[in-house]
């Protein structure tokens, strides 16, 4: 079972359908079982019992996950492979001691692969879909796997199967998700679900970044 964590500022179907459903579609097409949970409802120990965790991205304007980084205190303890996508890579990097720097990219960019690794296409490069305002300065000791002309595009933990990709692999690079899942050795039970197995709802509502008073 794969846990797909939603990082959108609120658990909105409109954003979920854009940033989680395409990832779920790739996972489901491989016949791998998955479940979805919004980050605001993930308690300590959230990764236990899953074969892998994928932290999905969110909208360009959305920075709610950064304001609530404390809600990801469970992440460093996750005992299974983790793939952070875009906002997910930023969160993964931050909770392991990395930092962010402004770097906006929108659309297709050339990504240069710096070293052979288990999840990216082979060197020298590939084209990827970007939608982000920030990139990561990786945590101390982490490997930089790939870069674009502007910023770091993929990182990994030096020993554990923890990966971050800044580009969106669900768009034109689905093989990245497939390779990641092959590391996780998940149970093959077709289908998935939006929240039937998730922990109970948390008490607070996520912050609404940039929301304006109408």
């Amino acid at each position: 079972m794969i846990l797909l964590a939603g990082l959108c500022y609120r658990d909105s179907a409109l954003l979920r359908s854009e940033f989680v459903r395409p990832v779920a579609r790739v996972v489901g097409r491989l016949g791998v079982e998955w479940t979805y949970c919004h980050y605001s409802r993930l308690p300590d120990g959230a990764g236990d019992g899953y074969d892998a965790v994928i932290l999905c991205g969110t909208a360009l304007k959305d920075t709610g996950y950064l304001r609530e980084i404390g809600r990801f205190s469970w992440l460093p303890e996750v005992p299974v492979p983790v793939l952070g996508i875009c906002a997910g890579m930023q969160v993964l990097s931050l909770v392991h001691g990395g930092t962010l720097r402004p770097a906006c990219e929108i659309g297709m960019e050339e990504v240069r692969v710096l070293c052979k690794n288990p999840i990216l296409p082979p060197p020298p490069s590939f084209s990827a879909y970007e939608l982000h305002r920030y990139s990561c300065v990786p945590p101390p000791g982490w490997k930089t796997l790939a870069v674009s002309k502007n910023c770091v595009q993929a990182v990994s933990h030096p020993e554990l199967p923890l990966f971050g990709v800044l580009f969106h692999p669900e768009v034109r690079n689905e093989s990245v998700i497939e390779r990641f899942l092959s590391l996780a050795n998940p149970g093959k039970e077709k289908g998935g679900g939006w929240g039937q197995d998730v922990p109970p709802s948390g008490d607070g509502q996520p912050v609404l970044p940039g929301d304006r008073d109408e």
Binding site: L15, E18, R21, K61, R172, G210
Partner: protein, 260 residues
């Protein structure tokens, strides 16, 4: 309670984007702070289905349509854009109409002006598109939204085409084919209603000719005549099929609103 959204409706919508909810339910979906949005509308199925998705989460303040002079516009869907005015009336949603010369280098700037006008007139905080897989279009809309500090929502982005088409046909949309641009689509498709028989043909084409099921490759364009949130339906009084070199357009010459 009539009009209430089923407890799991939103989650269900995401798996199979089929919000077969009543119009009342759409308007009762509030209860928390919403983003006022403008929906980029071409008059086709994707933008109006995306509009319906947006109505369940946010406040749809206007439709936004760029009217290009150039029928070969890269960015904007062109056949029968004038029908969007009727669609806006049918839905009871204001339309922000903006002209464009439809030149490749100027289209993004035209779009930005149209969206800025929607911000000025309606105070929108976000834009909704019906983008399916076009990185070309989507990237440009995202860039416009970034520059104007707006949210950008793409509820059909990389959706499963088969599930989407099923959802579209099951949820009460009345859609016809308004243009075709590749083999094996022939002139019999012009004006053809998208129903389950048509979907079966589209599936056969997708399998045999590798055409895209939802037309995201531009193989065909559509025109929405009725939608679950329309108060009136659009009747076509006169239309002309124009055919040339495997490309065809159904030009709607006369249309009006009638009781839904």
């Amino acid at each position: 309670m009539p009009g209430d959204i089923p407890a799991d409706a939103k989650a269900w919508m995401v798996i199979s984007p089929c919000p077969t909810l009543s119009v009342q339910a759409v308007f009762q979906a509030g209860g928390r702070r919403q983003v006022k949005v403008g929906v980029l509308c071409s008059g086709g199925k994707d933008s109006l289905f995306a509009c319906m998705c947006a109505m369940q989460e946010e406040e749809v303040a206007c439709l936004i349509t760029v009217f290009p002079d150039n029928p070969e516009s890269y960015m904007f869907h062109t056949p029968n854009l004038h029908v969007v005015r009727l669609q806006a009336k049918a839905a009871g949603i204001p339309l922000v109409a903006w002209p464009s010369r439809g030149k490749e280098g100027e289209e993004t700037a035209d779009l930005a002006r149209a969206v800025a006008e929607a911000v000025r007139r309606h105070g929108i905080g976000g834009v909704v598109t019906g983008a399916l897989q076009s990185v070309y279009q989507s990237s440009r809309v995202q860039a416009v939204c970034r520059d104007l500090d707006l949210w950008c929502f793409n509820p059909l982005w990389y959706t499963d085409p088969d599930e989407y088409m099923e959802a579209l046909l099951s949820s009460g949309f009345d859609v016809i084919v308004s243009a075709v641009a590749s083999e094996p689509f022939d002139r019999t498709w012009l004006g053809r209603r998208l129903d389950f028989a048509a979907l079966q043909d589209l599936r056969r084409y997708a399998e045999r000719y590798s055409t895209s099921l939802a037309g995201e490759g531009g193989e065909y364009e559509t025109l929405v005549l009725n939608a679950p949130f329309f108060r009136h339906r659009i009747a076509i009084g006169e239309a002309e099929a124009v055919w040339q070199n495997f490309r065809g357009i159904l030009r709607v010459k006369r249309a009006w609103l009638e009781a839904a």
